[in-house]
Symmetry: C4
Subunit: 278 residues, 4 copies
Amino acid sequence: MDNNNRRSLTPFQRKWHDIIFEANTPAGKLFDVILLVLILLSVIVIMMESVASLGTRFGIWFRVLEWLFTIVFTLEFIFRIYCSYRPRAYIFSFYGLIDLLCILPMYLEFIFGGAHFLLIIRVLRLLRVLRIFKLVQFINESQQLVLAMKNSRRKIGVFFFFIILLTIVLGSLMYVIESAHNSGFTSIPISVYWAVVTLTTVGYGDIAPVTPLGQAFSAMIMIMGYAIIAVPTGIVTVEMNRIRSKNEVSMQVCPNCMREGHDIDAVYCKYCGSKMEK
Amino acid sequence: MDNNNRRSLTPFQRKWHDIIFEANTPAGKLFDVILLVLILLSVIVIMMESVASLGTRFGIWFRVLEWLFTIVFTLEFIFRIYCSYRPRAYIFSFYGLIDLLCILPMYLEFIFGGAHFLLIIRVLRLLRVLRIFKLVQFINESQQLVLAMKNSRRKIGVFFFFIILLTIVLGSLMYVIESAHNSGFTSIPISVYWAVVTLTTVGYGDIAPVTPLGQAFSAMIMIMGYAIIAVPTGIVTVEMNRIRSKNEVSMQVCPNCMREGHDIDAVYCKYCGSKMEK
Amino acid sequence: MDNNNRRSLTPFQRKWHDIIFEANTPAGKLFDVILLVLILLSVIVIMMESVASLGTRFGIWFRVLEWLFTIVFTLEFIFRIYCSYRPRAYIFSFYGLIDLLCILPMYLEFIFGGAHFLLIIRVLRLLRVLRIFKLVQFINESQQLVLAMKNSRRKIGVFFFFIILLTIVLGSLMYVIESAHNSGFTSIPISVYWAVVTLTTVGYGDIAPVTPLGQAFSAMIMIMGYAIIAVPTGIVTVEMNRIRSKNEVSMQVCPNCMREGHDIDAVYCKYCGSKMEK
Amino acid sequence: MDNNNRRSLTPFQRKWHDIIFEANTPAGKLFDVILLVLILLSVIVIMMESVASLGTRFGIWFRVLEWLFTIVFTLEFIFRIYCSYRPRAYIFSFYGLIDLLCILPMYLEFIFGGAHFLLIIRVLRLLRVLRIFKLVQFINESQQLVLAMKNSRRKIGVFFFFIILLTIVLGSLMYVIESAHNSGFTSIPISVYWAVVTLTTVGYGDIAPVTPLGQAFSAMIMIMGYAIIAVPTGIVTVEMNRIRSKNEVSMQVCPNCMREGHDIDAVYCKYCGSKMEK
């Protein structure tokens, strides 16, 4: 990142910036670990509150804890803005938005009841875990995964577009076939939902065909689904293969015969035997 | 396309041909966008009518709207034929047939009740969306997908043939094992349907084995299904890999014979033997 | 095949051998087509008999038809032996054994009731369809599929061995967790069946965990199953890729520079430019 | 392995060491086969005891047999330690720990009732089957599988981390949507369990959305799951492909530096530059 547009910080701000935003110093690491523990505790409290037997007995304690966590995270958010070189950039960054989303639901509950369960989104803050513990290898791997998904996003987009059209058509056909036989295909949207459940091989069984024609047609859809489920797998596999291959062949050229395609550990050219420059 | 067999159009027809069939002019784009909106509205109306609670309350309005949409699309279809250079070619083209199928069900309902729900097939007209918005990249990607499916159609055909024979045999065996125990395997066709549901890992659970022998046999079928589901995935992945690799072939053209498709490491043209420029 | 050990046939036998075993002559093709139709009819009759509503009404007719088909196929089987150059080899060949299996159940029913439904195995005789209609391309493709499965049979064998051990261990753990809570995990074999249903992602739902611990453990099994289902897919894909690649690179060597790896359509060596021998 | 730290054994110990730990001699092979049979019998007895109808009738006999097997395996374990060159290394080896785990549950039952069903873990001792029957080919194949899993463990770890965060977020959203409609989404942990069941395409159907919004959201999750299930498959396939390719690398050894791993088309050693013999 360029250092322009950076506002100047006081020494106090700068010191805390290093603690909050970096994880190189012992203090910075300690801060991050405490944060992680608080996030985990907060997520566990929300989960426990949602369990009826616990929620009714300890409800009041859970609410108190949730308010405490929310206040702590709100203060942290404000402090992050205060210590940031570019407050605006932080707020609109990926992590900044998540930090905001993680405190908003509590305040929103004054307007919409039950909204505070959305606080669970705090779990996404755990994504920082990779950065904090310097799991560089894992970051590298996850970037490869993200890159593979990114490179295949267009193909997957087209695939999803076809799947949506297909499920609407198949669902409607099943509605015409089954709707008169009390089999759960009560409307076209429900039938489209059934088509998605079937094509993705999830198969809840909450809706299932009962007429012979409907069952024969479903069987056809499922066998067709065999070929369809192969498509995204193929897309992603091919993409990963390319990323993997690129990472493995050296970009070096032999200084003598000028040929490429050498392994990364090659010292001599495998074609003409002349020494290669490192 | 060759320009033979084209009938000559009046200026009026030609002007509208550009608006209806092309999407290069502002007027053509506007026409297509309006069409898309109408198609989407029409699909939503049909979906809503199928929902019982809405269908009974607003039924009459939905029918009126559906008739309106059908009349508009009918007029559009006639106008497309009128403005086309080769009306016959248009009618029997992929899009022409869909355009026809999208208005027929409404008229068919005078003969078969409930047929008008098939109007939902209109959703397929949305396929034009790719062309209209000049999503060239997406068209390219979707052509790659279609090509991969096309190239592997024989292997997938053979695979489906085996699957059908296999499900008939497995279903019948389960029928012999389970039919005496009131477990839903009431006939061979139903048992074949169960075998398809199981092998494809959909697993509704509307029919499930209850005898120990039946459950042991099902478990064997499922584990076998592990290897089977790998087959179409393998077929499609290999095919996509090839298409991808071909796209990575050198863009070089032989300076002598002007042919393409050379490997990246080629020094001489593999067709005419003349030296290639690096 | 070598021509030794062949017994000599009379001209009558030889003529019928060509009709029955070959599909080159019009008579041979006709014979095969009639046979296919009879097999299909026979399979349909057995399926229809198993449907309760049809079976009780037309039961007697179905039995008559089944006896008729069985007599025809028995005569055909005897005639095949009579016309074969090597009767023993025919009987113990893949097709010979299927031909025998396709008539046996009818006679076995005198001993075991209900066995005649196994006649459905006749459907396997349809495998001949590939040979009869000279669908050479399809035979080639199916051989590639069979070869891929064959080459990966050891890896898949090891994989199945692991899966069986794994499901036994996981099933027993779930039995210990769930058995006291009336949730369908009534015995270890049933729990192992559940583990197979879950790991293969079939998921009938006839048995599902009800305790929080059981559900948490199941969720872990399912996520683990994500990685497991990838294994057979990987095995088969890699194998298919190799078969595909082998089929595509010419085995030709350049007569001048002796290098390999030329495309099948190459006329000149891509490394030294000298003409290659076809 | 180095021979240091080995204690010296008496001839009696040495003789039995060869019988118990090796499978080269007839006596060693016999010992292993008897052991395998005992393990299988023991596993079958535990399974049968868990079946209610058998457990109540023959319960006492099963207990006697289980104690017998446990005593035999305990003696075997002690004897293995006694005959081992490095007892400590044996106890903490993979097989040593399994051997211990296979006798512990019986003794633990004095403390925890029902624990003896964990004896089923004995089935893992069958892993020795590969070693005993010298199924070298299979060992090689299974090592390739294990290697592929090992190499992709980081990518799969990252993938699992994302999946866990994703299921928590999706489950909570579904809880907020569905919890008020008596549809089984009774708490956030249950909803997370549902999200795992759905994303892995297991789909029991014990919990299924009933509100239109919940069904629409589920359909979106499932279609998204299409792309997600492709990820581990891609990871494992690419890894297997690499292992396979490496195995296809030339078996040539450089005549000068004696290093391996050269590409098949290498003319000069890529490590020391000396010419290689073809």
